[in-house]
Symmetry: C2
Subunit: 384 residues, 2 copies
């Protein structure tokens, strides 16, 4: 079984990109990843597109073919979906395709174009990541689901509004100077606390924004590795599921799928969680970064808020998290996020990242779909 | 690298299923496939859902998680999309996951629930399989794209309306008595010729219907094979892409992606096209079955119409095609179709099919996305 490597990464700016189409975004990120890898498009054996809802946002399904078309590639091309985890799912299936021997090089593109519709439609489309029959049909938006989770976390563990606000403050701080980020401005805890209520206790600055953007990866087998200047190794990958609706879960304050996915990825990598030097986690809402670091065991259950407050996830903390700005500040074009996370981890491990960390060897991403019905964890490492 | 086998198949009735939800359809087909395989759900390592547009048809994305939820499985679960080829793409990715050693058993579910919206919305949703910027936005529906193709085929090769009508007549004939089929009534060439025009030269009886339904497969590795009573072997699988928009193609009368996908699948299986005993091909419109049998080389280019007329694709013909009714008569719940095709091939090879063929050893499916931007070909064989 071959090992798998990241050969190159690419990305568009994230933001409100009204002058560019879905096709443009996929082409730009794909070409940029191929350029970064120093590879020609003819070497690509398959295209893996992560996207949640182009059918509703843009009136376009069949995104694999659109990507292949826009890049002039006739190789197989498909779209992969698992709500907000779509990007990581595309990446994971590319790993399988390479390990199965079906191809030696894959292009993974994550993309979402969310600002071509009005905000209420964008919000209802996002709600399709939850349970249509039991949640969205009775008016539960995506923010409301996480608001329920946040309330319960505050109740069970004494997590404070200020601690949640700190997540957004740190991630905005990390995005200052990140040329790809939708928001590059620092904010304060006061800004978050005084911003408009979206779904109490979550204010607008607790929420990741609605964003257009694409990110891409070139993923290769051992056979291609020698042609690559700065390969980063894929050490482990895990994915798991939980109930779609919140009401079916035993606990609102932990995401079982995260725990299962992380265990699989760590076992595959032969690593312990304490080996991980930094992480990209799914801060779609501030509370979710707190729950993520707890479920990944970077801190104990219930202590995520305090861990953030003490600086545990800051750039100089014990586990720097979302070092380039996270979903909150870089933006969250849903299908692109997982791919962007892996691109950012790759850059940190190669040594050419925004907010470059020193001496890092292992990085992990956690990409969550919906309110936690899907979780994907990938572990990358310096190639030694 | 392990070989891959079909361990069990399942299916709901196809039709207008207003009394059942998307969740119900997935659960019913999944449980039925597990029962057919004689396997417990705990043995499933991953769920692969093929679906084109539940976001628009039902307001539900995140179908992998919905399937896992409905079956009470916590294994990884994702959705795979390539327009009308979504089902075969889900199957193909399950093959990769098993061959890569990541799992030993996968549940593949293809599903679409299309009749919960009004017909114009269903038609516009289907048009999202074509090119949104260059085709659907200017009013080209899916039927119109194939009408352009049909006109050109008639012009270049003298294919007649009657020959196209014969495709529908044969497929309706094959569906008589198929308990899963949406339409089980025989029709005549006159019926087709006199039915309402949808997009000239295609009449309503040249078109596959709008359908609800789900189909499922249990796919396993060598390791699990001994536990299975009647395994069918996956011999080859190929997928390829072409331009999304028709106007970018060199020819309107052939689908390049079909040729590329078939070559890959045949090479992998170590077979020639003349070895294939029967096929399930993508008769979304009558003209497409004619083009499919030409592109697969069951007959020469341009002679598909005559081949149908001479009975070449009939049950007693040289290559029986769509022996259980095809998309036309069984129905075409888009994401389910590729999976249903593979289920039907499996039944023929095991010997428990509707219209059972005698002495068949190798069967092939061709599942096409959009107007041919995606094609997937799979070859199954009797396990020897």
């Amino acid at each position: 079984m071959t090992e798998v490597y990241i050969a190159g990464v690419g990305q568009t700016k994230f933001g409100e990109l009204w002058d560019r189409s879905l096709r443009d975004l996929m082409a730009e990120s794909g070409i940029s990843a191929l350029g970064d890898a120093g590879m020609e498009k003819d070497s690509i054996g398959g295209i893996f597109v992560g996207n949640m809802s182009a059918g509703r946002y843009v009136g376009q399904e069949h995104l694999g073919a659109l990507a292949a078309d826009s890049l002039g590639i006739h190789a197989e091309a498909s779209r992969y979906e698992g709500a907000c985890a779509s990007g990581s799912i595309a990446f994971r299936n590319a790993i399988h395709a390479i390990k199965s021997g079906h191809m030696d090089a894959a292009l993974v593109i994550g993309v979402e174009k969310m600002t071509d519709v009005r905000t209420p439609e964008a919000v209802m489309t996002l709600a399709a990541a939850g349970d249509q029959e039991w949640e969205s049909s009775i008016g539960l938006t995506f923010a409301s689901l996480y608001a329920l989770i946040a309330r319960r976390h505050m109740h069970e563990y004494g997590t404070t509004r200020e601690q949640m606000a700190m997540v957004s403050v740190i991630n905005h701080g990390n995005a200052v100077g990140n040329k790809y980020a939708q928001f590059q401005n620092p904010i304060t805890v006061g800004d978050v606390m005084n911003s408009s209520v979206i779904s109490s206790p979550l204010n607008v600055l607790d929420c990741s924004p609605i964003t257009d953007g694409a990110a891409a990866l070139v993923v290769v087998s051992e056979k291609m590795k020698n042609k690559i200047e700065r390969p980063v190794k894929v050490l482990g990958s895990g994915q798991a599921s939980d109930t779609l609706a919140l009401h079916d879960r035993q606990s609102l304050t932990e995401i079982q799928a995260t725990k299962l996915a992380a265990r699989k990825a760590l076992d595959q990598a032969g690593l312990k969680i304490t080996d991980i030097n930094f992480a990209e986690v799914h801060d779609c809402f501030s509370i979710n970064e707190i729950i993520a670091i707890e479920d990944l065991n970077f801190c104990r259950k219930g202590e995520g808020g305090k861990f953030v407050e003490r600086g545990g996830v800051s750039l100089n903390g014990s586990v720097p998290v979302n070092t380039t700005g996270g979903l909150k500040a870089i933006g969250h074009p849903v299908g692109a996020t997982g791919v962007r996370q892996i691109a950012d981890i790759t850059r940190q491990l190669r040594g050419d990242s925004h907010n470059q960390l020193k001496g890092v060897k292992y990085g992990m991403n956690l990409n969550i779909g919906g309110s936690g019905a899907t979780a994907v964890v990938n572990i990358l490492g310096v190639d030694e």
